[in-house]
């Protein structure tokens, strides 16, 4: 999986490196990192906009990068969000940046920067499932507010098909009960269901 993600982002880095700078409505990018050469920080600032993947229709308003030295590479924690009127929540990416090749490798992500209507759609697709609603009922999760996270195709492929999906998750922090639905927004259907119940 990580190899797949890495390859995906190598391609992104190579293919799109020049595309972000100078665009209108380019996000405000801040990069901070102790003990990292100015040249590397500058390259990260120039390249990060093309490595991140906002949800279609969304343009990030701000991208904040925290860089840390990790051997010969640099690990990056990236927090990106669109204007609050356009989307809510934060997209978090974890990259490894190789200063030698100027490439970004995606290590992990948690993508919640979505328009409220997109989140509502995903929740409602999930709630069409009898199995899900029965689980929410039996695990007393109906009163919890679900989170909606975007799942990138490289991950989705493992569970369904290589396309953008949504993970809609109900969680009770007190009991530890969790129910999550993997939703295909294009087909408007739930494709996988997962639950964890504390005994």
């Amino acid at each position: 999986m990580q190899i797949f993600l890495s390859l995906l982002f190598v391609a992104l880095a190579i293919g799109c490196l020049q595309g972000f700078q100078g665009q209108e409505n380019a996000p405000s990018v801040t990069v901070s990192g102790k003990g990292i050469e100015e040249e590397a920080l500058k390259k990260i600032k120039n390249g990060i906009g093309d490595a991140v993947l906002p949800y279609p229709g969304i343009t990030y308003d701000s991208i904040n990068v925290t860089a840390r030295k990790q051997g010969s590479s640099i690990s990056l924690e990236v927090l990106a969000s669109a204007h609050p009127g356009l989307a809510e929540g934060v997209d978090i990416y974890s990259f490894i940046y190789d200063p030698g090749s100027d490439e970004f490798f995606l290590k992990g992500y948690s993508l919640e920067n979505l328009h409220l209507s997109v989140k509502d759609d995903a929740i409602n697709v999930a709630l069409q499932s009898d199995e899900l609603t029965q689980l929410l009922e039996s695990m007393a999760l109906f009163q919890e507010e679900p989170t909606v996270k975007r799942i990138l195709p490289a991950t989705s492929e493992k569970f369904y098909q290589p396309k953008t999906l949504f993970s809609v998750t109900w969680r009770d922090y007190e009991t530890g009960n969790v129910v999550s639905a993997l939703v295909d927004p294009g087909e408007g259907k739930l494709v996988q269901l997962w639950s964890r119940e504390e005994q």
Binding site: G108, Q128, Q134, T155, W194
Partner: protein, 407 residues
């Protein structure tokens, strides 16, 4: 694999509930089955899988295989037959199932692979269909139900993509007693024919919370519904639910509005809009606490704060960070309103190890805000000795904590 297991539990749960409702027999969701002693069974078969669960639309078909091995010492002829489960919602019809081969004779140690093809007719109703494919006639009894020993249990969830999309299926809000709240439920008809609507207050769901500690049921008289009687093809409609909370309301209230959508692809109980309303009354008088400042004290510190879930919000009433107006009443009776010297916001961050769905594993080790803690500190230098009073007026907080520290 895990998902399949979860779905089966759900099917069993529904089945058990239906038996309870119809026959007043209490059944558990996970029945403990005790097979008859093996010496009673002439055919010792190994069957894999023992359960198969599919999701199919009307008109769809799916094939799967089942392997059967004769673990006994005698030759056996298998003539698989379809049996109905006594507690199923619907039964798979024999004509929907094709089995190849139809029969098989196995010597000791031999095995055979059957191909089962399930074809759902175009006119099948949506729902959970269950049946048993029995390879032999041996039975044992659970309660009053004879159960086939050598069998494959098959479940098919027949579903259709809903023609009408319900864009909001639950309302969670914090409301004030005596207030009136309006919630708009938007619907979209994606089909080519108009669909009728007849929303009604009330739930058809089973297994609701009953007893102490459960939310109170919303009363029908408090709820009014305004809805068109149909949604035209390819268009949107809005159902408006107005809830008038009585002045004496307290605690948590729940209820549901069944949208009454004439769309057979949506199960009746899956077209409910659930309402969960927490009644909240902003206090008009501050909380008061008397305390004593000893002689020679140089500093009085008051810390007020609240610990909230990241998703805790104030809904229709307000949204925003908690605030506290702190007033101190001196021994002489004069009121002092100190400004917050220090405001601290701390968060509990969960890295999600072990608690994430498998498709969120890429976010393992990443930060997720779980709780937020707001603290404000008020300091008064050289407080006069004697009896003081602390007054705290909270806002945007359903609870708070305070600390009085005298140095």
């Amino acid at each position: 694999m895990l998902v399949v297991g979860v779905m089966f539990l759900a099917v069993l749960s529904v089945a058990a509930q239906q038996v309870s409702a119809q026959e007043k027999v209490v059944m558990v969701a996970k029945p403990t089955l005790k097979p008859a002693p093996s010496s009673d069974l002439s055919a010792k078969l190994w069957i894999s899988p023992k359960n198969k669960y599919l999701q199919l639309k009307p008109g769809e078909a799916k094939e799967f295989t089942v392997k059967v091995k004769n673990r006994g010492e005698n030759e056996i002829t298998l003539s698989p037959e379809l049996e109905v489960l006594p507690f199923a919602e619907y039964f798979l019809e024999e004509s929907w199932i094709e089995l190849v081969p139809e029969k098989a004779t196995l010597k000791a140690g031999e095995k055979v692979t059957f191909t089962v093809k399930i074809s759902i007719p175009e006119n099948a109703d949506v729902g959970n269909y269950n049946s048993v494919l029995a390879f032999t006639n041996e039975t044992y009894t659970r309660g009053s139900f004879p159960i086939k020993v050598n069998s494959l249990t098959m479940g098919v969830n027949i579903w259709k993509p809903p023609v009408v999309k319900i864009l909001r299926k639950y309302v969670r809000d914090r409301v004030e007693a005596g207030g009136s709240y309006t919630y708009e439920i938007k619907l979209e008809n994606t089909g080519d024919e108009a669909v009728s609507l007849s929303p009604k207050f009330g739930s058809t769901r089973m297994g609701r919370c009953l007893g102490m500690g459960c939310p109170t049921e919303l009363e029908e008289a408090w709820v009014s519904i305004n809805s068109p009687d149909k949604i035209e093809a390819g268009s949107k409609a809005t159902v408006t639910i107005v809830v008038n909370m009585p002045a004496e309301a307290k605690g948590i209230y729940q209820g549901a509005v069944n949208l009454g959508i004439n769309d057979p692809s949506i199960r009746e109980w899956n077209q409910e809009v659930r309402l969960n309303l927490v009644v909240w009354q902003q206090p008009v008088e501050p909380y008061e606490k008397a305390f004593t400042v000893p002689e020679g004290s140089g500093k009085l510190s008051i810390e007020v704060g609240v610990n909230q879930h990241a998703y805790e919000k104030f809904g229709s009433i307000n949204e925003g960070e908690p605030t506290f107006i702190v007033t101190l009443v001196s021994p002489e009776g004069s009121e002092i309103s100190p400004s917050a010297r220090k405001t601290v916001v701390t968060s509990v961050i969960n890295l999600g190890a072990g608690y994430l769905p498998p498709w969120e594993e890429e976010s393992s080790g990443m930060y997720r805000v779980e709780r937020i803690n707001y603290r404000e500190t008020f300091i008064l230098e050289d407080p006069a000795p004697g009896g003081w009073k602390l007054k705290v007026m909270p806002s945007n907080a359903a609870k708070f904590e305070y600390t009085i520290e005298v140095e």
